[in-house]
Symmetry: none
Subunit: 199 residues, 4 copies
DNA sequence: AATGAATGAGGGTTCATTCAT
DNA sequence: GATGAATGAACCCTCATTCAT
């Protein structure tokens, strides 16, 4: 029983990892399901036991990878000594973006997809995840010395701006190489945060 | 001669228009080149006389449609009575977004692609277009009572934020239906503009 | 023991019923064994304990359903007051066809398959079934005031004609809607019966 | 132009012939489209230029072969010296059935499908075919010394009975080998014909 | 320049069957 | 006997691209 379930998990994991590797190496379009199963060492039919089609596994990967990025940032926050919501959000954004600077294929993969959706997906799926970044955000906001209004709007705006701008800046150096654009981006982020403080 | 050129232009135009219609109706993925040529009333081989492949025509369409959106906004600005860069940029953004609210398939099509890139593409292609929105921006900035620094950065940041946020808000009502999100978005845009004023 | 046998019978029955339901709803071609076992609530491997493959269960169903049709007609005959072989055979044919008119999916399913074969299958399988329609036919013939020659040929000819003609007439209204074709069909059937009377 | 059209016809013909050969050799179910195109010496895609799918080509083959059978019988009728509708129809039925006795795979292929439908399909498609068997029937009826009522019904009934009965009798010797069943069948056919004479 | 028949590699998907548990 | 995860051959069909006309 445990054995079978273990095996199932292992196969799904193998497909997941292999698909990710191929997606970022060859691109989604050029990755065939047959590529995935071959590299994962499972039969073709097995793929369809776990995923509906190529876009199903892609979406699940985007969500997983996005969460990992933010969870890593959340974990790093503990030892960072960042104080106050503003510094903490900047720290998280910065941590995520730095990871993407180091991993451009990943940036290209998650592209501008689903960023905020991915973060909220835990709530939607209902899976309890005590490392959950979305809940962490709420706590950070609650713990700040200031009161904030429309927290979801604030987070959404920051994440969309950072994601969209970083994507172009990192991958295409547009309008500037990211290192040069960074101060502008963070200045905007800080303004957005401040604008959500209850007066 | 002029007639032949006319005919050539007509065929290219037909392919362009047909492709757009199909892309927003059926989606890019589900639109085959054979669909395009059939509906355009030209032969399959003809497609390849004018475009490299499906993605070539797609990219050109995204650029064209983006420019149209901004040019329309730019034209409306003349009769709007909006004064000052802040009001003028808000007017343009608002005009573009309203058009997208009314045309969600178009929003879905240009999605988050190439927004800024499309605007700057005139410079890249070198085609002189005296209606050019990018130049218009420069003029608006120059004419304002304030001085601005890092104008490209400012425009980029605004356009990326507005594009990315509007996309989610209009199509998925995430985090709020657009009408409710709008005040927040415009508040952020104004902050970004102000932050680029030379002190 | 009886319980186990009961359980076995129940599973086989469940597969049988489910397969029939799916065959007439989705068609044989579009019904997969996985559909059958899923709906029957048994495991895939269990199917193979009872049937060789999809066509095995299909054939058995056609035979069963055909017999049910004729047995129902035979039972109704008791209370019908039909006298003489001619009226009795017409009664049976009419009863069967009426049932098919009311159940076109069933007509489509048994189609033109195996009609006579199904009726004689009892003899082949050797299963004793005291309600057996084929034996009933023999009795009806024996009890008639006339003597008949080549009884099997007569029954075969009637059943093939009625089955084949009714199929087209009911399902496709070809060459006429069945209600209009019926008098012609029954006239022919009566002629065939009469032609088998020993002169 | 003529060359291209010639070529098209040749390819379609090749597919048609090859499919027929394979259908009667291996069976429809076991014949893959890839088998057909391979043997026909054309590319896979070419198949779909001419036929929707396997069942499209099958249906067209059944119609074609059925027509050929009846047209051959119709042609033989000219030199047969058969006089009167009764003899003529018996001649045609007999000619067709003899051909099927000699070609059991063909009998198995057209099975009980579409018999009457195939004969009437010319009328439906509107293709003018001066050899058309359905029109020939009308003429034979018109030329007979008797008047007939409900001619379509008569032809339909005869063809369905003959087709259905011959199928079982020839292929399965059920209820008798065909040579022995034949007299019974033809007796029934004659009765049906006579029953349609205007009194 | 324009055509459109032909190509055939390649993709996605299904599903009967097996077999370790 | 019963299970159901895994298999992988098989199949259908699409479609970008070519090229003779």
């Amino acid at each position: 029983m445990g054995k079978i379930d273990d095996n199932k998990k292992k196969k799904k994991e193998a497909l997941f990892n292999t698909a990710y590797e191929l997606f970022i190496t060859k691109g989604i379009h050029s990755t065939a399901i047959s590529d995935i199963v071959e590299n994962a060492g499972v039969a073709k039919g097995t793929f369809y036991l776990y995923f509906k089609d190529k876009y199903d596994i892609k979406n699940k990967l985007v969500i997983q990878k996005t969460k990992e990025l933010f969870n890593d940032a959340g974990n790093a926050l503990y030892t960072s000594g960042a104080h106050g919501l503003e510094e903490q959000l900047i720290f998280i954004i910065d941590h995520v973006i730095n990871a993407l600077v180091e991993n451009k294929p990943l940036l290209n993969f998650i592209s501008k997809n689903l960023v905020m959706g991915a973060l909220r997906s835990t709530l939607i799926t209902g899976e309890k995840n005590d490392n959950d970044i979305y809940e962490r955000f709420q706590e950070l906001v609650a713990d700040d010395e200031y009161q904030y209004e429309d927290i979801d709007v604030m987070l959404f705006t920051i994440v969309e701006l950072a994601g969209s701008a970083a994507y172009n800046s990192i991958l295409y150096e547009e309008p500037l190489p990211f290192e040069e654009y960074k101060p502008f981006l963070y200045r905007s982020v800080r303004l957005i945060i401040k604008s959500h403080r209850a007066q």
